[in-house]
């Protein structure tokens, strides 16, 4: 009987240890703790080119994460990318004339959406759209531009990325 009890206790300890290890892996090695901190609201932004922007890429202000990319879709009529940003409710005081820019962390790192605050007294609400956007900087275009300019026949090929800041929503 005592032998049976010791089996049961040891087995219980083993199972608890196993699940503790799983909980440790789930919370400490992943950013699951950073997700879903309270409610969020959705803000749209249109980009001419999103580059390699992925779902759940961070949205940052001044380098601090305030939300994530909820969806990236092609707008059929305008043929530009409609990006939905899901921003934490705690950060509700963002001026509605702020601009969204797609940055790359590091030279070849992942892309994220940086929001540069504007000066409007009106704040962003759920479903609003950021009018001022700037597309992802394409490393290939940059290299292409550099090569073309370097060889001196810049007029033959139009520079691929010009006027990326555009008032996409209005006009």
């Amino acid at each position: 009987m005592t032998q049976r009890r010791s089996y049961a206790v040891g087995t219980g300890l083993f199972i608890v240890l196993g699940f503790a290890a799983l909980a440790y892996l789930a919370t400490q090695t992943t950013s699951v703790a950073n997700y879903r901190q309270g409610d969020s609201y959705a803000v749209k932004a249109r980009f001419g080119n999103v580059g390699q922007l992925k779902l759940r890429a961070p949205v940052k202000i001044a380098g601090v994460r305030i939300g994530s990319v909820a969806s990236v879709q092609l707008e059929p009529e305008k043929l530009d990318a409609l990006v939905t940003l899901s921003i934490d409710k705690r950060f509700h005081e963002i001026p509605d004339d702020s601009s969204a820019v797609i940055f790359t962390s590091g030279l070849l790192g992942d892309q994220y959406v940086g929001i540069q605050p504007g000066g409007s007294p009106e704040m962003l609400k759920d479903g609003d759209e950021l009018i001022l956007t700037q597309s992802a900087l394409q490393l290939e275009d940059l290299i292409g531009k550099f090569l073309v300019n370097g060889s001196g026949d810049a007029n033959k090929k139009p520079a691929p990325t010009q006027g990326t800041t555009k008032p996409a929503g209005g006009a």
């Binding site: 049976r4 083993f14 199972i15 196993g18 090695t29």
Partner: protein
Amino acid sequence: MNGRFLRGGYLADALAQVGAAGLFFFSILGALPKSLRYVRETVRQVWFVGAMSLVIIMTCGLFVGMVLALQLYHTLSIFGGTEALGTVVALSLLRELGPVVTALLFAGRAGTSITAEIGLMRATDQLAAMEMMAVDPIAYVIAPRFLAGVIAMPLLACVFNALGIFGGHLVGVTWLGIDNGTFWGNMTANVDLWDDVVNGVWKSLAFGAVVTLIGVFQGYTTPPTSEGVAYATTRTVVFSSIVVLALDFVLTAFLM
């Protein structure tokens, strides 16, 4: 008689083995409800294949994590990317090394003992005696061991991964001097709960089922001689290792 006949015989034998193992799997599944009466036996088996394997799993996990950090540090320093060490150690362990190495150790530590135990039961006619006493040996002996393997394996893999990441941290941060915050920050930024952690748990569940199935099947169908039990134990390790590595490729291709 001649070589051609023998080869044909081997191929037919191998196919028959695979078929018999598949049928055996279904008879275990069929006996699972009946084996619920023997919960105590299942608990004892979880203790035996799981808790008793903890020491080897923890030691190996620690050393695998440590050597992984050393090797990756060397490689990453060539590209000037040593700050990615935490990410690479965690992803390699969670996605690949944790489930696979645990399954191989599990086959050596638990699979062999299951085969030898059941094989000896077969050789000493204990299984036949149970049948005569109207105790279904599949429900009383096989199913609890199978269930215990399926329960224990993912938990062991999680312990292995946790110790491996601890070992990687030990080498990377304490010894090689990577910043602690960089190590964890890059890891948490790039490891996904569902794509990486849960993915590894699925893999280890599948490996646990396969390794234990091979173990009980080899034991149950062993020729009832001491030589037969010896061969069956060897075959358990060989077949388990091959199937785990092959299945790992298939599962990775599907789960990616």
